[in-house]
């Protein structure tokens, strides 16, 4: 989060002059969580408030590392937030974070490449996407997209869109793990077909070669979350104006469903000496109309408050990178179609790592993804049992 300390946090300190906030940026993704875990293990040196992605909240609730915000009046904030985003922070008889941004899944693509393949409207269904992928592969030098071999976050988002419920947790000892449901199998069989026919590449994402692939048109598109478009503008700046965004392809022509990939919250870390001040900070920066709009317009966080999504100052913005398209409005609409009842297991770090040991080799070697999903499921169930959970 560049400049969060000079903008949103500064606004907070102005509104609450007696509270001083120090922002520490300890890196992103794994580095961030490892530092947090280390501080929690040490029992000191941890922050009062930490940024935490939706999928990791249960993993920290189960280790009793987050403060339940109910006693501080968090329940009263519910009406401000998009329904499914709020549901992500409610579990184990408590409210464990304040939503900050989300990542509903859409499709961004290079209009010029799809045009030259004769695809002039974005694919509506996954069947259309398959047809389009064939056209792109035969008529251009590109792949329609990259099915990133190690990206558990995307696998799960695709399952989420298809209505699969791979994970459940009752807030206590019971977890559910199901990666072999008909919905999950349908998703993986579909991608297996595209991979085996060489219609999508399977490069690992978020590394230098992959950035180049996006910038140089190796990939003509990216099935990505609402934070993807802004990310692209930084990575593939020289292709400004060539991109467009659309809904993710659907499983039937009448369906209208989206998955979610990423999204984060502000959570209070156990051991905070100033829980009230910390709560006020988490509440203020995320729910105050001005800072929420600032997050959306300046940090490009995809908004989670109803008022920001409805605010024309955000939704009517046009993007030059996307040829003047109103990308915010599009993703605002997609956010309404995210299945609200999606849960996680309280050990998602292991889930993603295990995906790389089971799914990734199968994807890279164009193997059987349904078998790989079963192996992933078995690994997760073994781990869950080892950790003392009972399987639902």
């Amino acid at each position: 989060m560049p400049n969060i300390d000079t903008k949103e946090v500064a606004a907070f300190m102005k509104a609450y002059p007696n509270i001083k906030v120090k922002v520490e940026n300890v890196g992103q993704g794994a580095a961030h969580y490892q530092k947090l875990r280390t501080a929690l293990k040490a029992g000191e040196g941890g922050p009062d408030v930490a940024q935490m992605e939706f999928q990791y909240i249960p993993s920290y609730v189960v280790t009793k590392s987050l403060v339940d915000l109910t006693p501080y009046g968090a329940a009263s904030l519910q009406p401000l937030f998009v329904d499914w985003c709020w549901k992500q922070v409610v579990m184990a008889n408590g409210i464990y974070a304040i939503p900050q941004d989300s990542g509903p899944l859409g499709n961004v693509y290079r209009k010029d490449i799809l045009d030259s393949a004769g695809i002039t409207t974005p694919p509506v269904t996954w069947d259309d996407y398959y047809t389009a992928a064939k056209a792109v592969r035969t008529k251009t030098k590109s792949y329609i997209s990259d099915f990133a071999s190690g990206q558990g976050g995307m696998f799960v988002a695709l399952l989420w869109q298809a209505g699969a419920k791979p994970f459940t947790w009752d807030g206590g000892e019971k977890v559910g793990i199901n990666l072999s449901s008909p919905e999950a199998t349908k998703v993986m069989q579909y991608w297996q077909k595209l991979i085996q026919e060489d219609l999508v590449s399977t490069d690992a994402d978020f590394n230098d070669a992959w950035y180049q692939g996006l910038a140089n048109g190796k990939y003509a598109g990216w099935i990505t979350a609402a934070w993807g478009p802004v990310f692209l503008q930084g990575t593939a700046a020289k292709t400004t104006g060539l991109w467009r965004a659309s809904k993710a392809p659907q499983w039937s022509s009448t369906a209208n469903a989206a998955g979610n990939w990423g999204g984060s919250t502000s959570a209070l870390i156990k051991g905070t000496k100033n829980p009230i001040a910390a709560y006020e900070l988490a509440k203020y920066i995320n729910s105050n109309a001005a800072t929420a709009l600032q997050f959306a317009n300046e940090q490009f966080f995809f908004p989670v408050t109803k008022s920001t999504i409805a605010d024309p100052k955000w939704s009517t913005q046009t993007s030059e990178f996307f040829g003047g398209q109103k990308v915010n409005e599009l993703f605002g609409g997609i956010a309404d179609t995210v299945d609200p009842n999606f849960q996680w297991v309280p050990f998602m770090e292991y889930v993603y790592s295990s995906a790389q040991d089971t799914m990734t080799p199968a994807i890279t070697n164009k193997g059987d993804l349904v078998v790989a999903m079963k192996a992933w499921e078995t690994a997760l169930k073994t781990y869950a049992t080892q950790q003392g959970f009972t399987l639902a």
Binding site: Q34, E173, D208, A209, E349, D357, T360, N365, Y383, Q387
Partner: protein
Amino acid sequence: MSALAARRTSHPLRRKQIATAYLLLAPFIVVFSAMLIVPLVYSGFLSTFATTLIGGTKFTGLANYARAFTDAEFLSGLGRMGLFLIIQVPLMLGLSLFIALALDSGRVRGSSAVRLMTFVPYAVPGVVSTMMWGYLYGNDFGLIGQILRALHLPAPNLLSSQNILGSMMNIVTWQYVGYNMIIMFAALRTIPVELFEAAEIDGASQLRIAWSIKIPAIRNAIMLTVIFSIIGTFQLFNEPSLLRPLNPAAISSSYTPNFYAYNLAFINQDINYAAAIAFVLGLFIALVSYVVQLSTRSRDGDGR
């Protein structure tokens, strides 16, 4: 022995000397205990427990060790490092020895420049050099692939499951050839000149001198580099950890024992088992180093 000696010497001056000695040693002892002994004892302590997300911490004695010895992932990581050791270490040390001998023969022009150039990779932090090689190896946009394609040659995927171990060997070799060379070169400089001047006068070739005089004379230095290399190999961490994002299919979370221990602790939240793995790894390294040392000593005959 020192206790006995201390008791025997009640002379005030002698006692003062001993006190001074301990005083001078104190900073080392403090840091050594705080940074090595205490963490070691603590992780030994941790390794006898099991902590689960549900159920908390239980004392399990040696159960974690029993698990380690039957853990296929850990054992295959050890095996992989064994393979790495057998192939990479002789190649690297052979190259180091060759360069050291060449420089020592005095027949290389600009020998100090060569020495510096070979040594520079060691000055590059391991993380940086691994990332740099990662870029060079890249399949689509990596320099090596681009050069090969420009020459209309087939460009192998240097990050594939088949090639990744070799690619790692290359990084480690690149990085440590100069370091080992310097150790050997320094030892070569200490050999009395008379030893091989006599041989030279008798008409022995440079090769013969190297083989029969120089190499035997620096045996201890070579052994030192062998032991360092064994330890370094089994502790390989930067390479799997930094190259995994480039091709996670080729590098599993248990690719090397150290990387496995790290993932167990930070991803699987299984610090106790990770501690046990680290201990077994440490013992294993000590054992291999000892066996290697022993086997060369017995050949020596005089036990030196």
